[in-house]
Amino acid sequence: MKTKSVIQHLKFGFLGVVMGFVVARIGFANFDELHNMFIFADLRMLYAFAAAVMMIMLIFFVISKKIPKQNKIIQPGTIPGSMLFGFGWAVCGACPSIVFVQLGSGKLAAVFTLIGIYLGVVIHKKMHARFFRWDTGSCGV
């Protein structure tokens, strides 16, 4: 049990390093690049994203039987939540993984985004328990 847990930590740590590196090399951590993508001045990252989706789709199609079922459903929060996320992404140039990459590349201002995301998740937790109790589904893990 103990060694299993250590291996899980190491695996996740390794995956984190790889993901940080890949995302940073594509340029998602750079606000200027991201902004250029959103105003259609430079579509390089959009192509990269779309091509990656295509590639994963092909490979997952081949091994589709091994993929665990996921609980991703259309729920009342899907559209407003995505809109909020989109606006936030445009403002601070970070989705939940990119904050860390920005911090790693020396942009210390990302600390504020980090605090913001933490607060956002906590506020959602409280509000969800209080006001909207629908099933939000889960994303992956």
């Binding site: 899980q8 996740f12 984190g16 105003i39 430079d42 990269a48 995301i117």
Partner: protein, 207 residues
Amino acid sequence: MNEYWSWWLGALGLGGFCILYFTLMGNLLGVSASWRKVVNWRKEQELDAEISQFDEDVTGISDALMAETLAEFGDLAEQNSVSQTHSQNVVNSSTPLPSNIPWTAHMAFLLCMTIGGFLAAITTGSFKIEFTLSQVHSQIFGSNIEVWLSMLFGGIMVGFGTQMAGGCTSGHGLSGCSRLIPASLISTCVFMGSAILLSLLMESTLR
């Protein structure tokens, strides 16, 4: 512009990472789910304790069962024990795998991204300590304090929005869209669209 990967190399990297994640963890990539687990660590801790307690119970029960059977039937049971452990494995694999992962592993995943970003910045020689996000960002939002405030509120929107929508760029955009899940396709269209709208608006204030 040349310091970043071209689009096809980026796609290979990003797609390859998702496949790597799936082969190593047996589940699909989803960063906002990791966030949720880390933030709700107290609940996760109780869950982890319950699961390990349950595991111990199961092994304890099956051991006691085995001892009883041995006492009753002797050698015959030992031959059957192979098939018994086999069926036990099947039961274990059908129970949800994800809950086995402790929340601290999710935290390691998130924190190690900092190292990945640092490595990328060091190897390309672009590492520089800065207190603002970028030149364009500062042009849009003004002074340092305004920049920081905008990032705080942007972060709150990102955190709240991803939890409300049940996924972010990686969960809905990469994992969900590649499997053509309706909720993910809608979510991706909406967050891309709203980000593009706001970015065009922000760009128009510059001129």
